[in-house]
Amino acid sequence: MAASHWLVLAFKTLAALGFIWSANLVILYAC
């Protein structure tokens, strides 16, 4: 239970970091 909770949190954090990285690049190159 606890392990799966942290796994889900880690996955969500990775997804957010991926979004931040991609969106920052879009802003940097497109704006």
């Binding site: 969500k12 954090t13 957010a16 979004f19 931040i20 969106a23 920052n24 802003i27 940097l28 704006c31």
Partner: protein, 135 residues
């Protein structure tokens, strides 16, 4: 997505976001192409000032979809501050130094932070007055 739980921030329907996005589009399509000389305001600082009110709602919406943001509250001070810090580093240091894109300028950092502070104050005022919120 239940907008009522924990606030009523409209993300892409937020009036400040829409007004600032409109300002960016007008500057990009109408003002900048018609300027004959470099303008520090229209070619530089205006975009920096608009960074938080235009970009932050999109970022927060993404966190909401991912499941990291627990509610639809108006942007909290630390959410604004954290993104200003990340964008300052990314756009004024990482971009110019490692991607050779953009130019690091302390005034740009100040513009991003100033725009963030102004946006946060406006969001606080709107959050306190339900009549001003997006429907």
């Amino acid at each position: 997505m239940p907008a009522e739980r924990g606030g009523a921030f409209g993300y892409w329907r937020d009036p400040l976001f829409l007004a600032c996005l409109g300002t960016y589009v007008v500057n990009r399509l109408l003002i900048k192409p018609n300027l004959h000389h470099y303008s520090p305001l229209f070619h530089g600082h205006l975009n920096d000032v608009l960074t938080v009110p235009v970009a932050l709602p999109a970022y927060l919406w993404a966190y909401r979809v991912i499941g990291l943001r627990p509610d639809d509250a108006f942007p909290r001070w630390w959410e604004v501050a954290l993104h200003v810090a990340v964008w300052d580093v990314f756009f004024e240091w990482f971009g110019p130094h490692y991607l050779h894109r953009g130019a690091g300028d302390p005034l740009d950092n100040l513009s991003i932070a100033g725009g963030g502070l102004a946006a946060w104050i406006i969001w606080r005022v709107v959050a306190a007055r339900p009549a001003l919120r997006a429907t």
